[in-house]
């Protein structure tokens, strides 16, 4: 599929382009604020969702090589909307009927791209939150072993045997996996 010219927004975020970040705020902050205020939220909620959505898009561009094949505006507004609906659900409230679709006639590619960002970033958030539940030793071992460095060298640095490191890494990962499975994603 053809990359949309609005890919410039993603490239700008990756380059920390000040002018482009300002442009994103200037063009879209008002619309998101309006939507969230109309849907049980506050201005602080709107600011949080807006910032989190930018970071989510940045992360997807950086780590998942997200490439825009649709315009940025409906995609980004839909990311914000989906995140806000998830937040309302988390707070135990009933989503209301104001639709972001009023803004745009949103196409399937926009839906797909926005859904990917929201789902994958939610999953990443869950993984990282469960990782933080591990003990310090486990966290240290996993951080070290996931760097790609030779495990023999890591074992030496951590002052343990290679066999112990491998065994412990498997145990820590298995524990983490069980934490995640318990969350029923």
């Amino acid at each position: 599929m053809m990359i949309h010219p609005d890919q410039r927004y993603l490239d700008g975020l990756l380059k920390n382009d000040t002018r482009l970040v300002q442009e994103i705020y200037e063009r879209f902050a008002g619309k998101i604020k309006y939507y969230i205020l109309q849907n049980q939220g506050t201005e602080d909620d709107a600011a949080d969702i807006f910032q989190e959505s930018i970071i989510d898009v940045y992360n997807q561009a950086k780590y998942k090589d997200l490439q825009l094949t649709c315009p940025f505006e409906p995609f980004f507004l839909l990311v914000c909307k989906r995140k806000w609906l998830n937040e309302i659900k988390k707070r135990g409230r009933q989503p209301v009927t104001k639709k972001l679709d009023d803004l745009y006639d949103v196409g399937e590619d926009v839906f797909a791209a926005a859904e990917q960002v929201v789902q994958e970033e939610a999953q990443t958030g869950l993984f990282l939150a469960q990782f933080e539940r591990l003990g310090d030793k486990c966290k240290e071992i996993l951080r070290s072993t996931l760097t790609g460095e030779a495990q023999e060298k890591i074992a030496e640095t951590l002052g343990v045997t290679y066999g112990y490191l491998r065994k412990k890494k498997s145990e820590c990962m298995a524990t983490l996996l069980s934490y995640i499975q318990a969350q029923k994603i």
């Binding site: 002018r19 970040v21 930018i54 992360n59 590619d109 951080r143 996931l146 996996l177």
Partner: protein, 244 residues
Amino acid sequence: MAAYNNEDIVRYVDEDMLPGEREQFEAALQEDAALSAAVAQYRALRSTLSARLQPDEQVKLLKTKLEELRPKHFGKEPAKVVSMKKYFIAAGAAAAVLAGVLLFRYSHDTDYMGSYGNIEMQVSAERGNNADSLLQSAALYFNEKAYTKVIPLLDAYLKTDSSSQTALYYRGVAATHTNAVAAGLVDLEKVYDGESVFKYDAAFYIALYYAQQQKHKEAFTWLEKIPADASVAAKAAALEKELK
């Protein structure tokens, strides 16, 4: 999956299984959907942690930038229509910076429409029905500034959905570039009277039209309708400053 636990899954993916054990595990994978799903989940976990546990200085800088911009765009005051004089006091340095950027770009330029009126019509309807096709065709012509071709398409679209503020707004804008200016202004006023997200964009465009006609009084009247937190507020402030 009963025969295998999470540690086995980790050992399999991390290639810590002996060959015979690995073959048996792979045979079980073919038969056991739950085991297969657990392996996929572990692969995703491993891949995510490998990337996200590494320090990312770039994202820290981005977060700092977002925090700096936050108060400029998400104030504490509730949304309301205020006069532009009040707006300047309330928005303070933030608006001044944005207006400065715009004024730098457009300084000494009385082609207000050329400076502020470059609007892109963005729709991405791909549901395949006729109405969506009309909207998409209209967007193509609109973005090529072929405004006379836009109007009949949006007329047809509005017959299928007369409440579409999107179509009404873009038809209004397009019409101001043709000899159907009066009809365009009526469309834009209708959008302003509604509650869609185009409300203040419509007010701004009307102001812009009057500014271009050198009807400053009318332009100011419409600019005053735009609240400080509207997405077009910075442009409105910049235009007002230019007109003064």
